[in-house]
């Protein structure tokens, strides 16, 4: 089974081609087809997972291309991190496939939707199985493609078009960082293989400054994909895509690929203090920055998007402070509870047909299933004790604390506070208070939608227990292949709980005053509500300057290149006119000119001593 693991990503790929080519014939049954393939994929992944709990990592490669004396290979690798991601991705993907059947019900292009989902799942699964950077990069771009296609799924909407384009280009900017880092590594080590690269790093074959540069470049790739500051602006806009897509791609899996990338190339970062610091600071700042924006958003999906950014920032913070296990742990728990939150939000949107939380309220009684599920997710992300988010967050805080950087620790605590606050603000404004949607008969979603949510909720609660100070650190042991049991720090847990509590408390108080923090005239409010004007900044600088360069080159094209042509034409014409006058009909004149030219040539050659050598 393990040596046939390469089949896992091929099932969704098969589903992609099948649905793309014969989608019309399947019609609304496309959902079942897509789900079936993903389910098979998930089963395989689960089998591989159980196998690999006991076995060490497995790798298989074959030659793909020869560049000079270097062989570039492709293949797949199954180490604990990869297998974990594999099973996580296929599982959530399967759940989202299921959920989408309900959510996308009645959509004409449902087969296309499932085809795209299949493509994305294929790319993501292949991404996490890659044994080398090049292969990772290939699928890295392909998941970007999947994301692009799904964001632009409602192609007739201008916003969707713009968001898709923005997502593709912004992530590509990041990708270029990854490309640069990868190529530089190749010329240092003559290989893209992780194992070879890590050996070279350990042996100290790469100079420290170059290593730092490479690590930062790779991190730029991660920043682009994971929507970290300053390449984050695409992620909120990506919410133009269908909600299940947001859950799968822009919350649980693809955006976490950045974290996965840094985790997979972790030895590189460990070798460079500066790179680690950059990762940590970027992560920490993004966490707080995104959380602060989330506080004032009114679109439910955008709140969740900023929350995703913030949580990813948390993971990077952990990575940057040597909390490898903490980051991966949080990646897993976050995948579950954020997917749950998105699906629940999708369920709400499905019911009320709006995304604006100002127009929602009092849905607790109407949405019997969605309400509690959303609450579970909210509790988990806020870090309420005994739920999964609590454990992973505590782990991160611990790693930051151990690292000794108190500035970052403060950032992390502040973010925790804000997280709890904006999540409960969201929860209260949707489910609490009075009803504001009288027109629609609000109906609970069908079972096909809440069933996946229940599964996710179960995991959101329970998954935290794979890595706790009390029952054992299974995840950490497995990932790092050693006993990583760390000391139990009660005070940190207390602080984390208190901070969450404060956040929830403020949210409740504000809810009581029925203030949504949506109006405000203070300049600080305006800055935050406009997302710190980052979009505008890019618009005014990067885009404008690119356009300016293009325009000026148009002028160069028109006046310099074509102008030069024109000059040549004019000169030729002028000479032609002059030359016409030479045609005087005087034979002797012709002869004289011909002879004189010959004489000049002969004399020149004589002086030059023969012809040009």
């Amino acid at each position: 089974m393990v040596d046939n693991a390469w089949l896992i990503p091929l099932f969704p790929l098969a589903s992609f081609f099948l649905l793309l080519l014969f989608g019309k014939r399947f019609g609304s049954r496309s959902a079942e087809v897509g789900s079936l393939f993903t389910f098979v994929s998930f089963i395989c992944a689960a089998v591989v997972f159980t196998k690999s709990l006991h076995e060490s990592s497995y790798k298989q490669t074959f030659n793909w291309l020869t560049v000079g004396d270097a062989q570039i290979t492709v293949g797949f690798e199954l180490n604990p991190l990869n297998v974990l991601m594999l099973v996580l991705v296929s599982f959530i993907s399967f759940l989202v496939h299921m959920y989408s059947k309900g959510y996308m019900n009645g959509e004409k292009r449902i087969s296309i939707f499932y085809a795209y989902l299949g493509l994305f799942t294929f790319a993501m699964l292949a991404l996490v199985m890659s044994p080398n950077l090049l292969q990772l990069y290939i699928f890295w771009e392909l998941v970007g493609l999947g994301s692009f296609l799904l964001i632009g799924f409602y192609f007739h909407k201008q916003e969707a078009k713009r968001a898709a384009k923005k997502a593709f280009i912004m992530t590509r900017i990041g990708d270029m960082g990854l490309l640069i880092g990868m190529i530089l590594l190749f010329w240092q080590t003559r290989s893209f293989e992780y194992s070879v690269i890590f050996q070279a790093v350990e042996a100290g074959d790469i100079s420290q400054s170059l290593l730092t540069f490479i690590a930062i470049m790779i991190f730029v790739g991660a920043v682009g994909k994971s929507g970290q500051f300053p390449l984050h602006t695409w992620l909120p806009d990506a919410m133009e895509g269908p909600t299940p897509v947001s859950a799968l791609i822009h919350a649980a899996t693809m955006v976490a690929a950045g974290v996965y990338l840094v985790a997979a190339t972790y030895p590189l970062f460990q070798a460079s203090e500066v790179a680690l610091l950059v990762v940590a600071v970027t992560g920490g700042l993004t966490a707080l920055f995104a959380a602060s924006i989330a506080v004032v958003q009114t679109d439910v999906k955008r709140v969740l998007a900023y929350s995703t950014m913030s949580q990813l920032g948390f993971m990077f913070l952990a990575l940057g402070t040597a909390g490898y296990v903490a980051a991966v742990f949080h990646l897993v728990t976050h995948a579950f509870f954020k997917a749950l939150l998105f699906l629940a939000a999708g369920s709400v949107i499905h019911a009320v047909h709006t995304q604006n939380i100002e127009k929602m309220g009092g849905l607790w009684k109407k949405l019997r299933w969605t309400g509690p599920l959303f609450l579970i997710g909210t509790l988990a992300i806020s870090g309420v004790p005994l739920l999964s988010g609590f454990f992973s967050k505590e782990e991160i805080l611990l790693s930051v604390w151990d690292n000794g950087n108190y500035f970052l620790f403060t950032l992390a605590l502040l973010t925790s506070l804000l997280t709890a606050f904006y999540m409960f603000r969201l929860f209260f404004s949707i489910f609490g208070g009075e009803e504001k949607t009288p027109i629609h008969a609000v109906k609970e979603s069908p079972m096909i939608m809440w069933l996946p949510m229940i599964i996710l909720a179960v995991f959101s609660i329970g998954i935290g227990y794979v890595q706790t100070p009390w029952f054992g650190t299974f995840l950490g042991d497995w990932l790092t292949n050693e006993n990583s049991h760390h000391e139990f720090s009660l005070w940190l847990m207390l602080i984390a709980t208190i901070v969450s509590g404060i956040g929830i408390g403020i949210a409740y108080i504000l809810h009581r005053k029925s203030s949504l923090l949506t109006e405000g005239e203070s300049s600080a409010y305006r800055v935050v509500a406009n997302k710190y004007y980052i979009d505008e900044l890019y618009e005014r600088t990067m885009i404008v300057s690119t356009k300016a360069v293009s325009r000026s080159l148009v002028y160069i094209e028109r006046y310099v290149i074509d102008g030069f042509l024109l000059v040549v034409i004019r000169i030729t014409r002028m000479f032609a006119k002059k030359a016409t006058k030479l045609q005087s009909g005087q034979v002797q004149q012709y002869g004289a000119i011909a002879f004189l030219s010959l004489a000049v040539l002969v004399v020149v050659y004589l002086v030059a001593g023969g012809y040009l050598r």
Binding site: Q589, A592, F595, L596, A599, V600, V602, V603, L606
Partner: protein, 169 residues
């Protein structure tokens, strides 16, 4: 270096030839010019003799000094142009041409000066006419025949061109 008879003969002939050429340029009456050229042609025939080409020398006298000069004189008379060659023309062109010709001559002279071909004994002077005849009728028979065709064409062409138009029209 003692001056041999051959050298003396060459110098004399060359002097006359060049003189004839210069007169051609300098004289003003057209008939005089043509007559000056006769000297050149004849002395060139002499040069041919020195180069052991008796047959060519004879042909030279017959053709140039005889036929061509006479034809030219006829031409001059028929065109009835007794006017003197007045100096009109473009002075600049003459100066430029003179310079060009001098430069050209100098360049070619350099080439001649550097030329060094070892002298080999020849048998050209022995039965020269016979040798030419043999060559003409064996190796060069086709060019020779072509030449006769050319002459015929030239003959016909000249007659057609020179005859009065109004008869044909």
């Amino acid at each position: 270096m003692s001056v041999s008879g051959e050298m003396l003969a060459f110098l004399g002939l060359a002097f006359v030839a060049v003189l004839g050429g210069i007169l051609l340029i300098q004289l003003t009456k057209v008939v005089h010019m043509v007559l000056a050229l006769v000297f050149t042609f004849v002395s060139i025939a002499g040069i041919y003799l020195l180069l052991s080409a008796e047959f060519v020398a004879v042909v030279q006298i017959l053709l140039y000094s005889g036929a061509i000069t006479i034809v030219m004189l006829f031409g001059i008379m028929l065109t009835n142009n007794q006017k003197q060659e007045e100096e009109k023309g473009n002075r600049w062109r003459k100066i430029l041409l003179l310079l060009g010709i001098l430069g050209f001559a100098f360049a070619v002279y350099i080439g001649i000066y550097n030329l060094d071909i070892p002298v080999q004994p020849t048998t050209l002077h022995e039965a020269n006419t016979e040798q030419i005849g043999i060559a003409l009728f064996s190796k060069f028979v086709i060019p020779f025949e072509l030449m006769s065709v050319l002459l015929l064409v030239a003959l016909v062409g000249a007659i057609v061109l020179a005859k009065k138009d109004d008869e044909g029209a």
